[in-house]
C-alpha cells in the first residue's frame, strides 16, 4: 500500500486546475495556486523567515509560510516554469480573462504584463517546434498566442472554438514539440507551429490534456471521460459519473513508464496504466481535487506526486519502490486473482446453465401463453433496423428515423440507444406505454452536428405479458450528413454561395462517397458524370447542391460555410487528398463578417474612450477624498458631507460605467470570436498547404486592417491576384 509521504492542510481554498510547482528562487520548490478573491498564494515551506513587503505581495494572515499575490481579477489559468533561460529560476505565469502576467516571484517584479483581448482560458509553458526561446502559450476565444520572456508575441494562430486545454507533446516523433489544443467544439487539434497536422473529434468539451511520453498523451472530457491517445488513435478511455478535475503523467510504480494520474471531483485520485487503463493505485480526499502536479517538495532529491484538494489539503506520494513490484493497493494480488477467476467461473457456469435450461424449454411443448410470460420467444426471431429521413409534419420537426422491428409477432418493450454527442445524456430511451406495444418502433433522431455516430442499440424483445425480455444488441452507424434529405427534382433556384474545385477522381467514386455519407434512398441511381444532386437540410431547410463535371470539377452550392467546409474535409479524407485549393464565394456570410469587423472597430474605440473616462474619474475621486478629509479636519461638517455625497454619486456612476464596460467587453469578445471563426472557416474550405496559407494570409490582412484583401483571400486563397 502506497501511503502519502507528507500531508499538509493549508487554510486557503484552491481553485481547480490552477496549481503549479516552481523553483522561484532557483532552488526551493514552492507551490503556487489560485485562491479566492482574485489572489494567488505561494506556499514556501523551505525559507520561513523570508518576508515580502511589496504592494502586490502580502503575508497571509492565516499561514506563516504562505504569501499572497494580489491579482485583483479572477484567475483563469496559472503555470510556472522556465520562461527566460538566462534567469536560472522559474517564472510564475498568471492569466485572467483580459491579461497575462509573467511574474518574477524572487525579485517581486513583473517580467511583463500583457493585455490579451481573447482571454486566457488555458496556458502552457515550453518550447514549440523550431521557435528557440521558451514560450508561454495561452489559449483564449478561438485564438492561440505565444509570448517569450519579454512579452513579444512570437506565435499566433486561430482554432475552431474556445480553447479549454493545452499541452505540448512530441506528436510526430521528430524531437520537436507540437501543441495540442482541446476546444469547446469537442476537437483536439495538433499544431506543428501554426499548421494543423491532425484533428481528433471527441464527444464533449476537452477539459485537460497532458503529455505522457513519446507521442502518447492523456485527455479528459467534461462528461467524466478520461483516456489516452497515441498519435490519432485512442488507446483506451473510461467514463465515470464524476468529473476529472486534473490529469497528470507520473511514474508511480517505478516501471519506467508514466501512468495517467487523475484527480476527480469526488476527491478520488487514481493512477491508471497507460496501456490498459487498469487502476493500479487510488486514494481518497475529503473534497474535490484541484490539481495534480509533481516536484521535489521535500528537497530530498526524489520527485513526488503532489495532489491538492480544493479545501487546501496537499498530499505527496513517492513512487513505489522496487520491492512493491508495482503492487500499490492494499489487498494481495493472489487473493484478487482467485476472486476474479472464481467470478469468471461462476459466470461461465451460469451461462452454461442458461443454455441447458434453454434446451429444456425447447424440448417441451410448443409456445404457449405461459411461455410468453417467462419470456420464451421463437429462436429465429430477428431484429431489423432501417435508417431513413423523415420530412416531418406539423407536429414533429423533420428528423432521421430509425425503425426497429422484429421478424415475427414478438413485441419490442423498449429500445435503448447509447450514442455519444447526439442526445442530452449518453443514451436515449423509447418506452411505449403498455397499450401501444407492437413489433416495430420508430425512433426519431436529430443529431446536432454533422459527425458520423455509432448507435449502440439494445432492444428488449418479448411478449405483452412478459416480465423477462431478450436483449438484442446491435450497432448501426449514422452517416455524417444524415440530416440532409435528397431533393429531386432539383429546385429551381440554388444557393448563390459556392465552392469550386477540381479533384482527380472518377465520378463513380464520388457516388460511393455520397452513399456512405448521406442517407440516400435505395433506388437512387446516379448516372455518370456530369450529374447533380441536391439536398435539403432538415435543421433549417437550407439547400446543398453538389455538381460533378466529367473533368473532375466539383461545385458545392450552399449558404452554410461550415457545411461546405465539412463536405470538403470529408471528401478530402475519403479520397486521401493532401492539398486542395478552392475558389469560394459566400456573399451573405462575407457581408455579415464585414459588419462584424466594423463593429469590432467601434467596440475598440468605445473601449478606449471608457478607459480614459475611468482614469479621469479616479483622479476626481482622489481630489474629492482629499477635499472631504480637509473639510473634516477643518471641522466643516457641512462641506464634508457634501463632498462625501458627491463621492457617493461618483461611485454610483463608476459602477454604472463598469457595467457598460463589461457589456462592451463581452460584445467585443463575441465579435472577435466571430472573426477568428471566420478565418478558421475559410481555412476549412481548403486542405493541406493552401489551408495554412489562407489562415496566415487572413491573419496578416486583419493585422494590417485590410478588409478587402481579407475577403479576397477567403475567395481565392491568396492575397496577390
Amino acid at each position: 500500500m502506497l501511503l502519502p509521504v507528507f500531508t499538509l492542510k493549508l487554510r486557503h481554498k484552491i481553485s481547480p486546475r490552477m496549481v503549479a510547482i516552481g523553483r522561484y528562487d532557483g532552488t526551493h520548490p514552492c507551490l503556487a495556486a489560485a485562491t479566492q478573491a482574485g489572489k494567488v498564494f505561494i506556499h514556501n515551506p523551505h525559507t520561513r523567515s523570508q518576508h515580502f513587503s511589496a504592494p502586490r505581495v502580502l503575508q497571509s494572515p492565516l499561514e506563516s509560510d504562505v504569501s499572497l499575490l494580489n491579482i485583483n481579477q479572477a484567475v483563469s489559468c496559472l503555470t510556472a516554469g522556465v520562461l527566460n533561460p538566462e534567469l536560472g529560476y522559474d517564472t510564475l505565469l498568471v492569466g485572467t480573462q483580459t491579461n497575462l502576467l509573467a511574474y518574477d516571484v524572487y525579485n517581486n517584479s513583473d517580467l511583463f504584463y500583457r493585455e490579451v483581448t481573447d482571454g486566457a482560458n488555458a496556458i502552457v509553458l515550453g518550447t514549440l517546434g523550431d521557435i528557440s526561446s521558451p514560450l508561454a502559450i495561452i489559449g483564449g476565444n478561438c485564438a492561440l498566442q505565444g509570448f517569450d520572456h519579454e512579452g513579444n508575441d512570437l506565435f499566433w494562430t486561430v482554432t475552431g472554438d474556445n480553447v479549454h486545454s493545452l499541452a505540448l507533446c512530441d506528436f510526430d516523433g521528430d524531437g520537436k514539440k507540437e501543441l495540442l489544443v482541446g476546444s469547446e467544439d469537442f476537437d483536439i487539434r495538433v499544431f506543428k507551429e501554426d499548421e494543423i497536422v491532425a484533428e481528433m473529434t471527441e464527444t464533449e468539451i476537452i477539459t485537460s490534456l497532458c503529455p505522457m511520453y513519446g507521442s502518447r498523451f492523456g485527455y479528459a472530457l467534461s462528461n467524466g471521460t478520461v483516456g489516452v491517445y497515441d498519435k490519432t488513435a485512442r488507446y483506451w478511455r473510461i467514463k465515470s459519473k464524476n468529473h476529472a478535475m486534473s490529469i497528470h503523467a507520473f511514474d508511480l510504480n517505478s516501471d519506467g513508464v508514466c501512468e495517467l494520474i487523475t484527480g476527480w471531483s469526488n476527491g478520488k485520485v487514481d493512477a491508471r496504466s497507460d496501456r490498459t487503463g487498469e487502476v493500479i493505485f487510488k486514494d481518497n480526499f475529503p473534497a474535490a481535487i484541484a490539481g495534480v502536479v509533481e516536484g521535489d517538495y521535500r528537497m530530498d532529491g526524489q520527485v513526488q506526486l503532489v495532489c491538492c484538494s480544493v479545501d487546501g489539503e496537499i498530499r505527496g506520494y513517492l513512487p513505489g519502490t522496487a520491492e512493491m513490484r508495482g503492487n500499490l493497493m492494499d489487498t494481495s494480488v493472489e487473493q484478487d486473482l482467485i476472486r476474479e477467476l472464481s467470478q469468471k467461473k461462476q459466470h461461465l457456469l451460469l451461462e452454461l446453465r442458461n443454455y441447458e435450461e434453454n434446451a429444456k424449454a425447447e424440448s417441451s411443448s410448443p409456445l404457449s401463453e405461459a411461455d410468453g410470460h417467462r419470456g420464451i420467444i421463437p429462436a429465429n426471431t430477428k431484429l431489423h433496423t432501417a435508417l431513413s429521413v423523415n420530412l416531418g409534419n406539423e407536429n414533429q420537426a423533420a428528423h432521421v428515423e430509425l425503425r426497429v422491428s422484429t421478424s415475427n409477432d414478438t413485441i419490442i418493450r423498449a429500445v435503448l440507444i447509447f450514442a455519444e454527442g447526439i442526445f442530452i445524456g449518453e443514451s436515449h430511451v423509447v418506452h411505449p406505454s403498455i397499450h401501444n406495444l407492437s413489433s416495430s418502433i420508430r425512433v426519431p433522431i436529430t443529431p446536432p452536428k454533422d459527425v458520423p455516430v455509432d448507435l449502440h442499440l439494445k432492444a428488449f424483445v418479448g411478449y405483452r405479458s412478459s416480465t423477462q425480455f431478450h436483449v438484442f444488441e446491435l450497432t448501426r452507424q449514422l452517416p455524417r450528413f444524415s440530416m440532409y434529405a435528397l431533393t429531386s427534382p432539383a429546385p429551381a433556384s440554388e444557393p448563390v454561395s459556392y465552392v469550386n474545385f477540381i479533384i482527380a477522381e472518377r465520378a463513380h467514386r464520388v457516388v460511393v462517397w455520397l452513399s456512405q455519407n448521406f442517407l440516400l434512398l435505395e433506388d437512387t441511381a446516379i448516372q455518370n458524370a456530369p450529374f447533380q444532386v441536391c439536398f435539403t437540410s432538415l435543421r433549417n431547410g437550407g439547400q446543398l447542391c453538389i455538381k460533378v463535371k466529367p473533368s473532375g470539377e466539383i461545385t458545392i452550392n450552399t449558404d452554410d460555410i461550415d457545411l461546405a467546409g465539412d463536405v470538403i474535409q470529408s471528401m478530402a479524407s475519403f479520397f486521401a487528398i493532401e492539398d486542395l485549393q478552392v475558389e469560394a464565394d459566400f456573399p451573405v456570410y462575407f457581408e455579415e463578417l464585414r459588419k462584424v469587423l466594423v463593429k469590432v472597430d467601434e467596440y475598440h474605440s468605445v473601449h478606449q474612450k471608457l478607459s480614459a473616462d475611468m482614469a479621469d474619474n479616479s483622479n476626481l475621486i482622489r481630489s474629492l477624498l482629499v477635499r472631504a478629509e480637509d473639510a473634516r479636519l477643518m471641522r466643516d461638517m457641512k462641506t464634508m458631507k457634501r463632498r462625501y455625497m458627491e463621492l457617493y454619486d461618483l461611485n454610483k456612476d463608476l459602477l454604472n460605467e463598469y457595467k457598460i464596460r463589461c457589456n462592451n467587453h463581452t460584445e467585443l469578445l463575441g465579435n472577435l470570436k466571430a472573426v477568428n471563426q471566420a478565418i478558421q472557416r475559410a481555412g476549412r474550405l481548403r486542405v493541406g498547404k493552401p489551408k495554412n496559407q489562407v489562415i496566415t494570409a487572413c491573419r496578416d490582412a486583419i493585422r494590417s486592417n485590410n478588409i478587402n484583401t481579407l475577403f479576397r483571400i477567403m475567395r481565392v486563397g491568396t492575397a496577390s491576384s
Binding site: Q346, A361, F469
Partner: protein, 715 residues
C-alpha cells in the same frame, strides 16, 4: 488494540438467502470447524478447509430454494444435526450428510423462518406461525402482518416456551401457546432476531433484533413485560441488518456483537463498562451479507468471522496474518498453495470456456430453425424499496448475482432520481417527449464492471401515484433483462406508526356505502404504504400513519360499509378523497363521501411546518454567507472584527455545508406542500385559489409565520 482482520475467500455456491449457513460445532476449542450452507438451487453443502483447499464433506442434489438452515440436536449435547427448510418441507441431515428426517408440514405457504430447540420446531410462513413438537402440530397463530423471523427463548434456561415473532409492522409479538402474550413496538421493521450471547444472556430472556432500516437493539422478554436494554440508531445511514451473531473476536473474554448488513458492511461491536455497545471494526464487502458467525474455519487457533454473501461467497475475515513472520520458507509455501489454486482454477476455466463456446454455437444454430424456441435465462434479483424516514425519500436497492450491465428506470409519475455517492454507474436521463407513452422519467444507469449492487434514491410527491419500473440487464450471455415494478402510492410519504397524538385538531373523511371489508382494505392498501396485502383478522381495523416529511398524522378506522379517516393535514384528506372517489367510480361502487373540515387544523399544520421552514431558511442564508465570510477571513487574517453570529457561521461552516447538501430541494418541497395546503383548504370550501398562488410564493420568499397565517385566513 486495533482489530485487524484479513479477508480470505473460501468457496462460492449459488445465491443464498438470509440465515442459510452455519458452522458445525468444533471438536475442541479453536479447532477448525466445518461450514454447512444451503443455496437457492436447493443444494446443501458441507465443507471444511485443509491447507487452504476446500474439502467437501457432502453435497445434496438441487431442489427447491433453501429458505433457512438451522442446527439442532438433543438439548445439552452438541447441536450438530442440520435442518433445512425448503418449500413447505423440513429435512434433517447428520453431519456426515445422511438424511434422517423429511417432514412435510402441509403449510399452504412456503416456510420463511425456522427455529429449532430440542424436539421443538418453530416455523413461520408469510403470515402463519406453527409450533411442532416431535413433528406434531402444537400451536398456531395467524399474524396481522408479514413474519420475518421467529425465535424462542432457550427452553433449558427459561421454564416456559416463549416464541417471539418479528413482524413487518414494527412489532415483536411474544406468544404463549397460540395466543399473543404481549406486543413490543420497535423503531423499524425487524428482519432478524437472535439470542443475546447465543444463549439469551444472563437471564436467558435477552434477545437482539435488527431492522431493515439498519437499527439494532436488545430487549429482555420477561414473563410480564419487555425491558428495552439498549438501541443503536443508524446514524451513518448504513444498510438494513440481515444477520447478527455473538462471538469474542477481540479476545477480551466478552462476546462481541457481529453484524452483517444488506449493503455489504460487516461490523463488530464491543461492550464497554456500562455494557453499552461500541463500534470496534467495520469492513465493506461488495454485496449483502446474508449470514455471519464467529468461529474458526481456515486454520487451527485463529478466530475468524465467517460471512456468506448474496451471490454465494463464503468469506472469512480472519485474525490470521497474511504474511507469516516464521521465516522465509513458510512464505514460499503459502505462495505455492496459492499458485496451485490459481493454476487449477485456470485449467477449470479453460475447460468451461470450451464447453461454453460449443453451447454457444449450438444456440446460434438453433436460431436458424423455425420451430425452436429461445428461453430467457432467469436470474435472481434481490430488491428492496423502502421509505427513509430521515429525508422522506425512497431508496431502491437492486442486487444481482452477476455483474449488472445496465438498468433502465421508467416511471409514469413525476419523481426525482437523486444521485447516491456510493454508485459508480453513469446516469443518463433521456427525454420523454411523447406524452402518449405515459413516461415521466426515463433514465439509464450504465454500470461499471463488477457492479452487482445498485442503489437509487427517489423523491416522490404525495398525491401523484403510479408505477416505477426497473429493467435490469446483467452482463451474462445470452443477454436478457427482467422488469421489477414498484408502486408509488398516493400517500407515499406516510409511514406506519403505533400511536398518534389525539389532541391535535383533526379533519375527518367518512366513507359509507355498500362495500365489503376486503374492498375497503384494498383501497387503504392502494393509498398507503406498509399496509399488509391481506385483510387483517377482525371486523374493524385501525391503522395509524405519520407523514415522514411534515410529521402530520393520519388515523384510519374501517369496517364493512364504513371507513373513517382523520388527519390534521387537509392535503392528506384531500388526496384520499380524490383517490378514493376515483377508485370507487372505476369499480362502479356507490360511495357516500362526507368530510368535516376543521379550520384550526390549517393553522396547526402551518405551525408544524414553521420550525422546519425557519431552520431551512436560516440554513440557506448561512450557507450563502460562508464563501463571502471566508474571503473576508483571508483578507483580514482574523475574525475578531466580525459579529459573533458570523464568527459562529465560520466555525460551523463545514457542518452547515454538509447539512445543506444532505437535503437538496428541501425548501422547495416545503414550499410545494404549503402551496398544496393552501389550495386544498379552499378546495374544500369550493373556491379555486390557483390564481393567488404567486402571491403566496411572494409571501414565502420573505417568510414570516404570522404573515403566512394571516394570508391563509384572509384569502
Amino acid at each position: 488494540m486495533d482489530l485487524v482482520l484479513n479477508r480470505a475467500d473460501y468457496v462460492q455456491v449459488g445465491v443464498t438467502s438470509q440465515k442459510t449457513m452455519k458452522l458445525l460445532p468444533a471438536s475442541r476449542h479453536r479447532a477448525t470447524q466445518k461450514v454447512v450452507i444451503g443455496d437457492n438451487d436447493g443444494v446443501v453443502m458441507c465443507f471444511g478447509m485443509k491447507k487452504g483447499e476446500t474439502v467437501t464433506v457432502f453435497k445434496t442434489l438441487p431442489g427447491l430454494k433453501i429458505e433457512r438452515l438451522e442446527l439442532g440436536g438433543v438439548l445439552n449435547t452438541p447441536q450438530e444435526k442440520i435442518f433445512v427448510a425448503a418449500g413447505s418441507e423440513i429435512r434433517g441431515f447428520t453431519k456426515r450428510g445422511k438424511q434422517f428426517l423429511s417432514f412435510e408440514t402441509n403449510l399452504t405457504e412456503s416456510i420463511k423462518a425456522m427455529h429449532i430447540s430440542g424436539s421443538d420446531l418453530f416455523l413461520s410462513a408469510n403470515y402463519i406461525y406453527n409450533h411442532y413438537c416431535d413433528c406434531k402440530d402444537q400451536h398456531y397463530y395467524l399474524s396481522g402482518d408479514k413474519i420475518n423471523d421467529v425465535i424462542c427463548l432457550p427452553v433449558e434456561r427459561v421454564p416456559r416456551i416463549t416464541p417471539v415473532l418479528a413482524c413487518q409492522d414494527r412489532v415483536l409479538r411474544v406468544l404463549q401457546g397460540s395466543d399473543v402474550m404481549y406486543e413490543i413496538e420497535i423503531p423499524g421493521p425487524p428482519t432478524v432476531l437472535e439470542l443475546y450471547n447465543g444463549n439469551g444472556g444472563n437471564s436467558g430472556e435477552d434477545i437482539l433484533f435488527g431492522t431493515s432500516d439498519g437499527k439494532l437493539g436488545l430487549i429482555q422478554i420477561t414473563a410480564s413485560k419487555p425491558i428495552h436494554k439498549w438501541e443503536i440508531r443508524n446514524e451513518k445511514k448504513r444498510g438494513g441488518v440481515l444477520c447478527i451473531d455473538s462471538f469474542d473476536i477481540v479476545g477480551d473474554g466478552v462476546k462481541d456483537l457481529l453484524v452483517g448488513r444488506d449493503d455489504g458492511i460487516v461490523e463488530v461491536y464491543s461492550f464497554d463498562n456500562a455494557n453499552e455497545p461500541v463500534l470496534r471494526y467495520d469492513q465493506v464487502l461488495s454485496e449483502s451479507v446474508t449470514f455471519i458467525q464467529g468461529g474458526c474455519v481456515g486454520k487451527d487457533g485463529y478466530d475468524e468471522i465467517v460471512v456468506a454473501t448474496y451471490s454465494g461467497w463464503v468469506t472469512g475475515l480472519t485474525t490470521e496474518p497474511i504474511h507469516k513472520e516464521s521465516g522465509p520458507g513458510e512464505e514460499v509455501k503459502i505462495n505455492q498453495e496459492m499458485q496451485n489454486k490459481i493454476s487449477s482454477l485456470r485449467s477449470e476455466l479453460e475447460h468451461l470456456q470450451c464447453k461454453v463456446l460449443q453451447e454457444r454455437e449450438n444456440y446460434q444454430k438453433s436460431s436458424q430453425s423455425s420451430k425452436a424456441k429461445s428461453a430467457v435465462p432467469s436470474f435472481s434479483i434481490n430488491d428492496k424499496f423502502t421509505l427513509n424516514k430521515d429525508d422522506a425519500s425512497y431508496s431502491l436497492v437492486l442486487e444481482v448475482q452477476t455483474a449488472i450491465d445496465n438498468v433502465l428506470i421508467q416511471s409514469d409519475v413525476p419523481i426525482d432520481l437523486l444521485d447516491v455517492d456510493k454508485n459508480s454507474a453513469v446516469v443518463s436521463f433521456s427525454s420523454c417527449d411523447s406524452e402518449s407513452n405515459d413516461n415521466f422519467v426515463l433514465a439509464t444507469y450504465r454500470c461499471q464492471a463488477n457492479t452487482t449492487r445498485l442503489e437509487l434514491k427517489i423523491r416522490s410527491i404525495e398525491g401523484q401515484y403510479g408505477t416505477l419500473q426497473a429493467y435490469v440487464t446483467p452482463r451474462i450471455q445470452p443477454k436478457s433483462c427482467q422488469v421489477r415494478q414498484y408502486q408509488i402510492k398516493p400517500l407515499s410519504l406516510h409511514q406506519r406508526t403505533h400511536f398518534i397524538d389525539h389532541g391535535r385538531p383533526m379533519n375527518t373523511l367518512t366513507l359509507t356505502g355498500q362495500f365489503s371489508f376486503a374492498e375497503v382494505h384494498s383501497w387503504v392498501v392502494f393509498c398507503l404504504p406498509e399496509v399488509p396485502e391481506k385483510p387483517p383478522a377482525g371486523e374493524c381495523v385501525t391503522f395509524y400513519f405519520q407523514n415522514t416529511f411534515l410529521d402530520t398524522q393520519l388515523e384510519s378506522v374501517y369496517r364493512k360499509g364504513e371507513g373513517v379517516f382523520k388527519s390534521d393535514n387537509i392535503s392528506t384528506i384531500s388526496i384520499l378523497k380524490d383517490v378514493l372517489s376515483k377508485e370507487a367510480t372505476k369499480r362502479k361502487i356507490n360511495l357516500n363521501i362526507s368530510y368535516e373540515i376543521n379550520e384550526v387544523s390549517v393553522k396547526h399544520t402551518l405551525k408544524l411546518i414553521h420550525p422546519k421552514l425557519e431552520y431551512q431558511l436560516l440554513l440557506a442564508k448561512k450557507v450563502q454567507l460562508i464563501d463571502a465570510l471566508k474571503e473576508l477571513q483571508v483578507h483580514e487574517g482574523n475574525t475578531n472584527f466580525l459579529i459573533p453570529e458570523y464568527r459562529c457561521i465560520l466555525e460551523e461552516a463545514d457542518h452547515l455545508q454538509e447539512e445543506y447538501k444532505k437535503q437538496p430541494a428541501h425548501l422547495e418541497r416545503l414550499y410545494g406542500m404549503i402551496t398544496d395546503l393552501f389550495i386544498d383548504k379552499f378546495k374544500f370550501k369550493g373556491t379555486n385559489v390557483k390564481t393567488k398562488v404567486p402571491l403566496l410564493l411572494e409571501i414565502l420568499d420573505s417568510y414570516d409565520q404570522n404573515a403566512l397565517i394571516a394570508f391563509f385566513d384572509a384569502a
